[in-house]
Subunit: 204 residues, 2 copies
């Protein structure tokens, strides 16, 4: 890292704090949902003018994509950390359940799942990133389940691909429930019941 190698160009120095705006947008889209936040409102929150926003991000789509990128880097990456983390198959599954159903981070739901649900309404760039993250997540779930099967921790006749879709669906359901205000305990109970299909057969 060569510091911020003084690129002192000509012109008026820019006062727009890109990181700050992206962070504000991420939190706003996250809490209120993409439909519940307008560029006008975002500009007001950040204390900047609309042309500044459009100069930096090209439009609503660009800002939304940047917000989703920041979200993926700060929140979604923790998921793969749990998937590849230590502990047995059952322990890691339980850690995932705790994370999605109980962690305060998801008190207002998940920006990614909200954007995925509002897929047709987002711009092209945002939508493209959504499907990319979707594919990555699926692949991570599939790899997690495949290693469990190879290790003999997950017996049964359920194909790995179906299991990955199932994990995706159930975690998404839990996150949507939390966004809807369902009590944490209920979300956890439903999710635990859903995930019991991965462990019940061998145990009893």
């Amino acid at each position: 890292m060569q510091d911020d190698e003084a690129p002192r160009r000509r012109g008026r120095p820019k006062s727009l704090d890109r990181e700050r705006l992206v962070d504000i947008a991420m939190r706003a889209y996250w809490e209120a949902g993409p439909q519940g936040v307008s560029v006008n409102a975002l500009c007001q929150m950040a204390g900047i003018s609309k042309p500044s926003l459009y100069r930096e991000f090209g439009g609503e789509d660009g800002l939304m994509r940047a917000a989703l990128e920041a979200y993926a880097a700060s929140v979604l990456d923790r998921v793969v950390g749990l998937l590849d983390g230590p502990g047995s198959f059952a322990e890691r599954l339980d850690a995932m359940a705790s994370f999605f159903a109980e962690d305060p981070v998801f008190a207002h739901g998940c920006l990614f799942t909200k954007l995925r649900a509002a897929k047709p309404l987002a711009g092209d760039d945002t939508r493209a990133l959504v499907v990319a993250i979707e594919a990555d997540t699926r692949a991570a779930f599939a790899a997690f389940l495949q290693s469990a099967r190879d290790g003999g921790d997950w017996a049964g006749c359920v194909p790995v691909a179906l299991g990955a879709r199932y994990l995706d669906a159930q975690f998404g359901l839990a996150l949507a429930s939390r966004a809807a205000g369902v009590p944490v305990a209920e979300v956890r109970a439903v999710l635990d019941l859903a995930l019991s299909v991965f462990v019940a057969r061998a145990a009893s």
Copy 2:
């Protein structure tokens, strides 16, 4: 039924076909989602003027509620028909899975679940009906499970209330998946896996 006992009042005879408008609104909200349909668009589809709509329904909220009422009467009532229908517990569970995951009626998803997801955006009247239907559905699921438990068809330590929430959640998930365009076979596979928690313990 005393026919349409000529209530020939004074004034200009009304040309607005209430049923037709409700039906058009119901299908539009159903397919495009409540966010995707404006009153202007609805008026254009029905070939009427906006004041006519407001005279009849008082506003967007009134029309949306009427559309949801029509939907509940024509589609949602079929669910309780399946719950109270003939067959064993497992057979009725399977019938429900077929209905939600495969029936062409739900090719575009479910109006009720879409309205429930967009809860904060609908008007007061519509929202009230949504929560009422929600409660009825929950109660119907709970009664269904209670009778299964009483009849010895559903053993296990899962409380009835949790089972009802679980059914609600999983059926809602299936309907949302169908609305999102997920292939019928995949929706069915995920739903079957989720519902296996009701039968697996005793079988194996």
